[in-house]
């Protein structure tokens, strides 16, 4: 038996013993997901136990080094873990911006002290992070951001405003882009700061979206004092970190398109439009669904190929824009088709029958996929300029 197969056996028996039965079913809704944090709102004991056990092993972040709270697994071992979790239908023990976004950036740019302090907290789900990037006047043109951090000898003094800060009202800490040099060119005066959301001068207000309640907030900073040691990387070199982190964000938003594929669109539509001689009774809808499935299949394979290319040293950072663009557009198409297939059932907004308008709300929410993390148009700009080398305007 190879080492990997032995590892698979160990993982399997550990999961069977340690994953509570309740955690082997899909989440019921957005609230039934474990985000951790200082004041975690566990939906059940099972959720708490599952996080503790996985956090203990570092398997919430299987590929991070052990000294920073990770599992220290190789890429192949992490794949085995994912496969075995999928086999038992184990859900993720922890959903976290710390894992997806800040962690990879700290591993690359953080000081040793920062890695030792922040990464284990992320791995165990003890601190919940939010991302302070966009501002009311800095969206696609993110580098024009105006939130300022003034050097006051022993601390930075932060003033300004962020928008679209997901879960800012529930987060413990923020990783935030701030301007530290107003005289420099816009990309060269930005720094990457970490600070506690409980600091005096921080306040948030939630934003309602077309889909209803949302995790998005506006976040305001008024004379917030941030210790100097909370600067990640060099001062005025924060844009490089921001770009690196956006690459990770793009990959996770791109992946969004595929994580929810459960019942096929064809089955779903069959319930409302019926079958005719063994095929969907609506031929035009059927054709659109079939084309969508071809593209969906190709997208899944492209995610795999991108990972394999990166591993083989053939990757390019800009390639994440290919996946982000395609995945976001694909997910929007999927929700349009779900609405087409669902008919008036999918239009119900309230009540138990529609799970409080789940289909309609998810359809509306999917429209943001091609806006958040860099719009589809920005991704196409990146592909045109960085992958195809077309001249910039």
């Amino acid at each position: 038996m190879s080492d990997l197969e032995q590892f698979r056996g160990e993982v399997r028996s550990w999961l069977e013993k340690n994953c509570p039965p309740e955690m082997r079913r899909p989440s019921l809704n957005e609230d039934d997901v474990c985000w951790g944090g200082r004041k975690p709102s566990f939906q059940s004991d099972a959720q708490r136990v599952w996080l503790e056990r996985m956090g203990e092993r570092g398997w919430t972040v299987p590929e991070w080094p052990k000294q920073y709270g990770g599992g220290g697994l190789t890429r192949e071992e992490a794949k085995v873990l994912r496969e075995e979790m999928a086999r038992l239908h184990c859900r993720a023990a922890l959903t976290s911006f710390g894992i997806w976004m800040l962690g990879p950036a700290l591993l690359k740019y953080g000081s040793e002290a920062q890695k030792r302090k922040y990464l284990p907290e992320i791995a165990r789900g003890e601190i919940r992070w939010c991302q302070g990037y966009s501002e009311p006047n800095a969206g696609s043109d993110l580098a024009s951001l105006q939130t300022k951090a003034e050097d006051k000898a022993d601390h930075f003094l932060v003033n300004g405003q962020k928008i679209w800060t997901s879960y800012a009202d529930r987060a413990d800490w923020i990783f935030c882009l701030v301007r530290t040099d107003f005289a420099a060119k816009k990309h060269e005066g930005i720094s990457f700061l970490l600070f506690d959301m409980a600091s005096p001068g921080v306040s948030t207000t939630p934003i309602s979206l077309i889909s209803g309640k949302s995790p998005f907030c506006q976040t305001f900073f008024h004379d917030v004092k941030v210790p100097k040691g909370n600067l990640v990387g060099e001062r005025n070199k924060g844009w490089e970190i921001a770009k690196y982190l956006l690459t990770h964000e793009r990959e996770s938003i791109g992946a969004f398109g595929i994580t929810q594929i459960g019942r096929s669109l064809g089955e779903l539509a069959a319930e409302t439009v019926g079958h005719d001689d063994g095929v969907l009774a609506d031929p035009l809808l059927r054709a659109k669904i079939a084309e969508f499935e071809v593209d969906g299949w190709c997208f899944l394979l492209s995610m795999q190929r991108a990972a394999d290319m990166a591993k083989a040293g053939q990757g390019s950072g800009a390639y994440s824009s290919v996946l982000k663009y395609y995945g976001a557009e694909l997910n929007k198409r999927r929700h349009e088709l779900m609405m087409d297939g669902g008919g008036s059932d999918a239009l119900e907004w309230e009540g138990a029958r529609s799970h409080d308008g789940k289909a309609a709300r998810e359809w509306l929410r999917s429209k943001a996929n091609s806006i958040e993390g860099g719009t589809s148009e920005i991704q196409l700009n990146i592909i045109a300029k960085r992958l195809l080398g077309l001249p910039g305007a």
Partner: protein
Amino acid sequence: MPLVLSDEQQMLRESARGYLAEQAPVAHLRKLRDERDDTGFSRALWRGFAEMGWAGVLIAEEFGGVGLGHVEAGVLLEEMGRTLAPSPFLSTAVVAASAIGLAGSAQHKAQHLPRIAAGELVAALAIDEGAKHKPSRIALAAARHANGFRLNGTKTFVIDGHVADLLIVAARTAGGIEDKQGVTLFLVDAKTPGLARERTIMVDSRNAARLAFENVDVTADAVLGEVDEGAPWLERVLSIGRAGLAAELVGAGSEAFDRTVSYLKERRQFGRAIGEFQALQHRVAQVYDDLEMARSAVLKALQTMDENLDGAGPIASVAKAKAGQAAKLASQEAVQMHGGMGMTDELDIGLFMKRIRVAQELFGDVQFHADRLARMRGY
């Protein structure tokens, strides 16, 4: 298996690219077309392919081949797509060699495979009977006669059928024309009395044939596989052909695309390179995305053929559908973005659009494969 080419496969790509650039650039196709060549491809080039080992890429070493896999055959097809190199590679080295290698008797293999590998035998698959690919409907009749069978009926869009020495014919030996059961594959010598063939020069300047069988008698030895049990073999062979064509489509689409991106950097209007215009930038970026998606599916389909041919039907359809769609888009945008020049015969871009149109039609177009997948998925 990682979804990337191995070092050896990349080396094969480099050597194929170098060889084709020298021996069969697009100008080679243009010359054959302009000279109204009788064969439609160069026998000398085909012998060259045999010397390179390409004609025997999928043929086992014991039969004179090099015994490589479908990924390697796909790498070659992609490169042939880039220069539009005309040859019987797909019909003979990929489709016919697979059919005989998979379903043939020991005698069939010994008789035909070494000659294919040596570039001495051209073979063609005769499957379609109407203008649209529909392998589930086979009407050409093969009735038992004397010690063998007597064939009557017609075939169309038989690639390289005009010069093929050997034809692989899907015929009906039992049941109704739409029945899965009752299809038999026959190996038919092209010189058999009663077989008439008409060369059809296609829009891509390559060649196919319409075949008419009138009391064409073959012996029982001509049966490839088992009588009435040809459909599963046909299915496998078509999957191989589809994945190969998808690879060629990605090659042709990528070359048309690369030439377009270069043109956008050179061509100046309004005092600047037209590639500066966002209206064009976004469209080429979208084409790039579609080609990348197709490339992933094609590689996966080729790898699946090598690992588990019987399970490769769905992914071959995904690859053929996506490659057809992406390459068509790439060629259409290529003509548009080259402006008036894109419409001229002088520029090669139009030749790419023509070849892509034919390759995406062969063995099932985008709609055929999307429909096929939908049926497999139960809707």
